[in-house]
Each structure stands twice: as structure tokens, then as C-alpha cells.
Amino acid sequence: MIAMIGKFRSRHDRVLLLIVFWLLLALLGPLCSSHDPGAIGSQPVFSAPSAAHLLGTDYLGRDTLGRLLNGIRHTVLLCFASTLVSCSVGTFLGIAAVTARPWVEALTGRLADGFLSIPSLLFALLVIAVFGTSTTALIVTMGVIYTPGAYRTSRALAQRIARLDFVTVARARGESTPYIILQEILPNMTGPMITDVGLRFIYAVLLLSNLSFLGIGVQPPEVDLGSMVRENMLGMAYGSPAMIVPVVVIGVLTVGINLALDSSSGRR
């Protein structure tokens, strides 16, 4: 356990680096495009890449690159926000379960078990049917879906750390619970929790893309990577970049983070 905390540091750094990269792309990317992403031009639809449109045009003749950068912004920001929700709430509850009175753990544990007995896509469908597809609804829904998982990870981590002797000594010294959580437990959780953030971020990207692809995620005129594939499905017959590129971007995003996560956990 102790060895793990030190050994995997570079892995967390890699995951963190990738997430920061995608966040920057999401925030700055749309500024780089000269085209108005919503403008329906006089261009032909599904045109091939050209100097004016580096990735061609989509089913309405819009610039694919501009749409793509916007799609990345929605996918990354939505998923990052929901990951922040699930990981912070999950970590908070996980630590509370370990440090608070026993009934807290019993209650949160039961709730997590209950939520985990509902498959995530199903839960999303159920909630969206009622609350609709607003940005807030999507973030909260995905946040709630991945909270039980983050809760379990952080609870297991906190439990292991709380059993270590240095925490025992701090408790015997009479340190307050906030001090023990903030100074003794949390600093040793950050590394593994960043890994967890990476994992949940991937899950969120996959879920959101699926939802948007099904037409019940991000709604037009907004666009994310999943809905971009959906609206450009007709372009498949022409091998249009408007349909293929977002698929590739999703793959690069998730495979990249997965590889960073996997690089030192899988083999020893």
C-alpha cells in the first residue's frame, strides 16, 4: 500500500496531463476556428476536405472542423463537470463512511449497492425521460450515476489508509477528525483518486456519446461528438469526415486515457 502511493505517481501525472490537454482543447479550440459553427453556408453538403474547410462540410454544408471543435467542447466539459460531481461527492461520502459513525457507512453503503443494481445507461434513460436533456440535467444525471463507483473506490482507499499505523498514532495523539482527514488521509488518497477521475471521465464520455447518438443527449443546435455522428450518419455512404472524424476523436480521447491508466497497473 505504502509502496503503491509512491510508485504510481508518474501514472497519475500522465492521466492528469491528458485531462488538462483535453480541457484546454475544449476551452480554446472553438476560438481557433474562423467559421461560425452554426452558420449554414452555401457549401455543398458532405464536401471533401479543402483549403477552406480542412475537414470538409457536414450534412447541412457547415464547416466540419468548427463543428468538431464545438463538439469536443461539449463532450469534454459536460463529462468533466459530471466527473467532478461524482468524484467529489463520492470522495466526500467515502471518507465520511470511514470516519463518521457506523450508521453513515451502513446507509451510504446500502444506497450505493442499490444504485449499482441499476445499469448506468438505463438509469440515464429513466432520468432523462423525466427531467429532459438540459445541460444541467445531463451533468447531474451522469454525476449521480458514477457517484456510487467513486464512493466505493474512495471508501476502500480511506479504509486502508485509516487502518495504517500513522493514522492510529495521530488518533492516539488526540488529533481532531478534520485534521486526520485533511492531513493524514486525503494527501495519501489524491494519487489513486486521480486515476479514478480518469476512469470515470472515460465512462462519462462513453455514456454521453451513446446518449447523444441515440438522440437523447445533447440536443441541436448544440453539438457533441455523439450527436455529430448521429446527424452525419448519411455521410457514411460517402465516407465523409463529418461522420468519421468524431468517432476517431472519441477513440483517441478514451484510448489515450485508458492507456495511461493501464500502463503500470496491468503488468508488473
Binding site: I5, F166, T168, V169, A172, R173, G174, E184, N188
Partner: protein, 607 residues
């Protein structure tokens, strides 16, 4: 005649992760003649297990043999194909693993696993094999030899599994048996049973083998020749009596000096008896619902009483599961107790550390068990110490830094360590920081929970020296919780012997080994091997006879009032011990003992 085992210039290298290959075993050569037992002595990381496994042609992942020759019973092990290797393993050469609890497959019955080596080599039909296994079980003094094979590993104790593993190794009458620390994980009273069983079988069958261990007194009992390994290289080789009594290499001498029982006691004879600093009175700790009597369902610490005088060291000794750690947690205020009381300087201590006064918390400090997890891995050493200095003394800035340097000096460490992270320190250094942290509170009494258990002998000996120094220089009191009787005897003034949660004996540490004691204390004392060849044969440990039927005992052993040692006691009196709770008896000039037997006949040491 050619030696049965011959190893010449063995070199094994290994890599961790993607790093460069590092030598693990360097230029090791030794030989073992037929009928001899060779001890491979070394501390953790010495490469002794790697050498032992290489004799079976088994090299762990990431390692490889870089040079040298291994010849076992006529086979050139380094040159064998994987298939040929399989054909000699378990048939010509067999292996007894360190931790039988995990080396037995939990999903298969004992008998299936014990006969397996013989079965895969088709030496005999299964029926004959099972008969042979039963005779081996009997020879190894296992209970119910006829039926023990039908049971599963999870249902048996560590000592039984270790003997079953030896039976498995002997099934095929191999030419060579490798024992890899087979008794290290066992309690001493179990260890001696296993060692006796091994020794009897060795004598009967004339076994050739290699015995890997770090325990020199075990070497004295088991081996004929010995090799001392350090960092993968041989430091010294020779007969056991030469290694144990005339070691030439400085490292062997250091090992020996650390293992030699020696007293670090100052002469307290003339000094007046000190007032009591910490009193434990009838402490009961347990888990679960309260019963009608107001006691917990599962009692872990059962009416324990003792006191620690100012400036003295009290040792608490007991086997795994006897409740020592729970006792430590209760004293530290981390585990509430159900009954009894705890007094520090005559004032009662609250069961919860949060309800104790700051001064009470400062005066009583805990030094926890595991050197690897005792320091917060994400904080530099200096910060860890400074926190305690500020928490209790309110020191900040330069004053705090000065105090930290002072503390590091007190535990004989350089102030430059303050900026290091725990992962950059050795086990011994971490344990010293662990002490420094307790000292930072300027305590009156320090509670040490198994602090030497995970350390190598030489490092542990240095920690014991440090404790004694601190006791002398600062007038500190200690409670030293341990399972190691030698360590306890070498530094403690008083001793409390814990068995199944009860303090069966509390008395002066000097008196251990002589005079009158509780039967369990005597068993414990007699079970610790001495560094004398032949000690194992000469020692006569009285064991409980089978006169009292187990069924009767079982029905009674649930009564927590009765003697907790009843089932294993060699001196128990039928009709008394299994009916009436034992009284507390005080031996004049000796310990306070929880036993029925009158002092005159109570288990007097014959020596």
C-alpha cells in the same frame, strides 16, 4: 563420493520493472553430502530463498541464472529442459514453503494435495500412497492421522499445515528436501512441536536437505553445516558449531551478537521501589452486544491487571491472538473497554482518547507496530515531528526546528533526514523516527506494540539498545508488547504473560526461568530454542495428556470464568480446574499467578 547437492559459482540476476538487471545472488558455491542438513542463514533480502528455489530449477519471474552450476542428486539442474525439471521436482527434490497457510490450495482436500507429487510421478497406486501419507501424518505427530487428510486447509491450524507440508514433501522419498523458513510464521510453542516432529523424521529417514532460516537457534537444532548469506553473497561457511561458536566474518559475528540473549538490565537491586505510574485494573475489552453480566459477547481482554512503576519497563508477552494489540489499543484510548479502569498518576483515564486531558494524552504515547506504515508517506520526516512538537508544546518556527533536530539526535539520526520522505528511509530508521515522534510529546510512558517484529535481528537489537538508553537517560517508563521472550527478558523489569486475553502471570522479569510460574509461562519459556546443538532433544516439555476427553473440555471451555489454559495445561486437575475458576496466587518474591495449583507444586522449574 560426489556430494548430493553441489552448487558452484551460482549467479542470479533480476530486474524490477524496466530497470537494469541487478545481481541477486553472487558467486555462491556450497555442497551438501548425503544425509546432511545445510542451513542457509540470512536476513531479508539476502537472496536465501532465491538460492533455495534455484535448486529446484525454479527462478521467479524477472530473474534468471546468469552463470554457475547446480547439481542435485546427479542432475544438472541448470541444463534441464522444463519438462525434465518437472520430472525431478517433487520426486527427487521437494520443497516445504514458508507459509503453509497460503501454499496449500484452499479448494482441494489435504489428502489430494499430499499425494499429488507422488501421483503425478506415478510412483505408486493411489491406495498405497494414501496409506503412506497416513503413516507420515502419524510420524509427524499430527492429530487424527486417519482422517486429517479429508479436511481442507482453511480448517487446520498453521502448525498442522506446516507439518502436512513436510509430509507432502516426503511422500516420494526424495533425495533432497528444501525447507524455506518453515517455522517463521508460527508461535514459539507451535514452532517447537513442528521442529520436534521434523527432527524425529530427519533422524528416522536420514534426510539430505537445505534449511533456509534467519533464526540461529533453529540452525543449532536442525543443521550440520551452515552458510551465511548477505546481499546475495556468501560471507562465511562451515560446520554449525564453527559458525555459531567461532564465527570469523564480522557480519556473522554481528548476527550472532544480536541473537545472543543478553541482558541490557541496569542493576536496580539497591534502588527503592518506584511509585506506580500506570495502573491497569481488571480491564475487560471485547466486541459485540453486552451480555446479561454486562460483559461483551466476545471478550478479547479478560480482567487484566498490572501496573508500571515510574522509570521501569513492563513487558507484555503472548502468542498471536492473545489480545496484546487490543490491550494496547484500549490503553491508548482507541478501543473502549467494557469494565475495569486505567489510572495514570493515580487519576482515571477515559476510555476514549478525545475525553482525556491534553496532559494525559501527552504523558502516554504510542509507538505502533509496523515500521512500513507508521509514518505518513506524503509528509517529510521533519513535518511529521514538527506537528507533534507544535501540537503538544506549541513550538513554532526556529524553536520547533531546533526541537526536531534535538529529537533526531536523541534517536541517533542525522538532522539532515528531516527533509526526507519516509520512503527514502530504511526500516530501522523509520522505527527510530517512530520513537522520536513519541518523544516529541515529552511523555512519561511509551507504549510499544511489537516494534521489533518486522525488523531483522541486528536492526531490532539496536532498537532495543535505544529503548534502554531512553529509559536510563530520560527516566521513561515503557510498556513493551512482544511475542519474543528473549527481547523481553533483555530489557524489561517486569513481565505480564497474556494467554487468551487473561494475564495468567504478572511478576519480575528477572525471575523468568527460575522459581515458580504459571504452567503456560513455563511452556512459553521452555519453547524458546536455545543456541545449543542438542537442545531440542534434551528439552522435556510436558504436554497435556489426553486423559480429559476433548468433548468434556469443549463444553466447558465456553465458560469464560474457568482457567483459559485448561485445554493445553499439562498439570490440570480433573474436577478442580474444569469446575472452579482459578484464584490469584502470589508467590513470595515471585510473580502473581492465576492458577489453582498451590505454590509448592506449581510447575517449578527443574533447572
Amino acid at each position: 563420493m560426489a556430494a548430493t547437492i553441489q552448487v558452484e559459482n551460482l549467479e542470479i540476476v533480476g530486474r524490477r520493472g524496466k530497470g537494469a538487471e541487478l545481481p541477486i545472488v553472487r558467486d555462491v558455491s556450497f555442497s551438501v553430502q548425503r544425509g546432511e542438513m545445510l542451513a542457509l542463514i540470512g536476513e531479508s533480502g539476502s537472496g536465501k530463498t532465491t538460492v533455495a528455489l534455484s535448486l529446484l530449477g525454479h527462478i521467479r519471474k524477472g530473474c534468471r541464472i546468469a552463470g554457475g552450476m547446480i547439481r542435485v542428486a546427479g542432475y544438472d539442474v541448470t541444463a534441464l529442459s522444463p519438462h525434465e525439471c518437472r520430472s525431478i521436482r517433487g520426486r527427487v527434490i521437494s520443497y516445504v514453503a514458508q507459509n503453509a497457510g497460503s501454499a496449500f490450495n484452499p479448494a482441494l482436500s489435504i489428502m489430494r494435495q499430499v499425494v499429488e507429487p507422488a501421483l503425478v510421478h506415478r510412483t505408486l497406486p493411489r491406495r498405497d500412497l494414501e496409506a503412506r501419507a497416513v503413516s507420515l501424518f502419524r510420524a509427524l505427530a499430527l492429530p487424527d492421522p486417519e482422517t486429517i487428510g479429508e479436511r481442507y486447509p482453511g480448517e487446520l491450524s498453521g502448525g498442522q499445515l506446516q507439518r502436512l507440508m513436510a509430509a507432502m514433501a516426503l511422500m516420494t522419498d526424495p533425495e533432497v528436501v528444501i525447507f524455506d523458513e518453515p517455522t517463521t510464521a508460527l508461535d514459539v510453542t507451535t514452532q517447537i512441536e513442528v521442529l520436534s516432529a521434523f527432527k524425529a523424521v530427519f533422524a528416522e529417514r536420514g534426510i539430505t536437505g537445505v534449511y533456509v532460516t534467519h533464526d540461529l537457534s533453529v540452525v543449532a537444532q536442525i543443521a550440520d553445516h551452515a552458510v551465511v548469506l548477505k546481499d546475495g553473497a556468501i560471507r562465511e561457511a562451515g560446520t554449525v558449531s564453527k559458525i555459531l561458536f567461532q564465527p570469523e566474518d564480522p557480519y556473522s559475528q554481528a548476527l550472532l551478537a544480536a541473537a545472543e540473549p543478553r541482558s541490557r538490565q541496569a542493576d536496580l537491586a539497591g534502588q527503592p521501589e518506584q511509585r506506580s505510574l500506570l495502573d491497569v485494573r481488571n480491564l475487560v475489552v471485547g466486541y459485540g452486544q453486552r451480555t446479561a453480566a454486562g460483559l461483551p459477547e466476545k471478550v478479547i481482554v479478560n480482567h487484566v491487571s498490572f501496573s508500571v512503576p515510574k522509570g521501569r519497563m513492563l513487558g507484555v508477552i503472548g502468542e498471536s491472538g492473545c489480545g496484546k494489540s487490543t490491550l494496547a489499543r484500549a490503553i491508548s484510548g482507541l478501543q473502549p473497554w467494557a469494565a475495569g479502569e486505567l489510572l495514570l498518576n493515580g487519576e482515571p483515564l477515559a476510555g476514549n482518547v478525545r475525553e482525556r486531558t491534553p496532559d494525559q494524552r501527552r504523558h502516554l504515547q504510542l509507538v505502533a507496530q509496523n515500521a512500513d506504515s507508521v509514518l505518513n508517506p506524503s509528509k517529510p520526516i521533519g513535518q511529521t515531528l514538527e506537528r507533534v512538537v507544535r501540537f503538544y508544546g506549541g513550538l513554532r518556527g526556529a524553536a520547533a526546528t531546533r526541537r526536531v533536530n534535538e529529537l533526531l539526535d536523541m534517536v541517533r539520526l542525522s538532522p539532515s533526514l528531516a527533509s526526507r520522505l519516509p520512503s527514502e528511509l530504511s526500516g530501522g530508521q523509520k522505527q527510530r523516527i517512530n520513537f522520536a515522534r513519541a518523544l516529541a510529546a515529552d511523555p512519561q510512558i511509551v507504549l510499544c506494540d511489537e516494534i521489533t517484529a518486522a525488523l531483522d535481528t541486528v536492526v531490532a537489537a539496536a532498537i532495543l539498545d535505544l529503548m534502554k538508553e531512553l529509559q536510563r537517560d530520560l527516566g521513561l517508563s515503557f510498556i513493551f508488547i512482544t511475542h519474543d521472550l528473549h527481547a523481553l527478558q533483555s530489557i524489561c523489569d517486569r513481565v505480564a504473560v497474556l494467554y487468551a486475553g487473561q494475564a495468567v502471570e504478572v511478576g519480575p522479569a528477572m525471575a523468568l526461568g527460575k522459581g515458580v510460574h504459571h504452567p503456560y509461562t513455563r511452556l512459553l519459556h521452555d519453547s524458546v530454542p536455545l543456541m545449543e546443538p542438542g537442545w531440542l532433544e534434551s528439552t522435556r516439555i510436558k504436554r497435556a495428556d489426553e486423559a480429559m476427553p476433548a468433548t468434556l473440555l469443549n463444553s466447558l471451555s465456553h465458560d469464560p470464568e474457568l482457567c483459559c489454559f485448561l485445554e493445553r495445561c499439562p498439570d490440570r486437575v480433573s474436577g478442580l480446574c474444569d469446575r472452579v475458576p482459578p484464584p490469584v496466587r502470589s508467590v513470595p518474591e515471585g510473580p502473581r499467578v492465576l492458577c489453582h495449583l498451590p505454590a509448592s507444586i506449581c510447575s517449578e522449574f527443574s533447572t
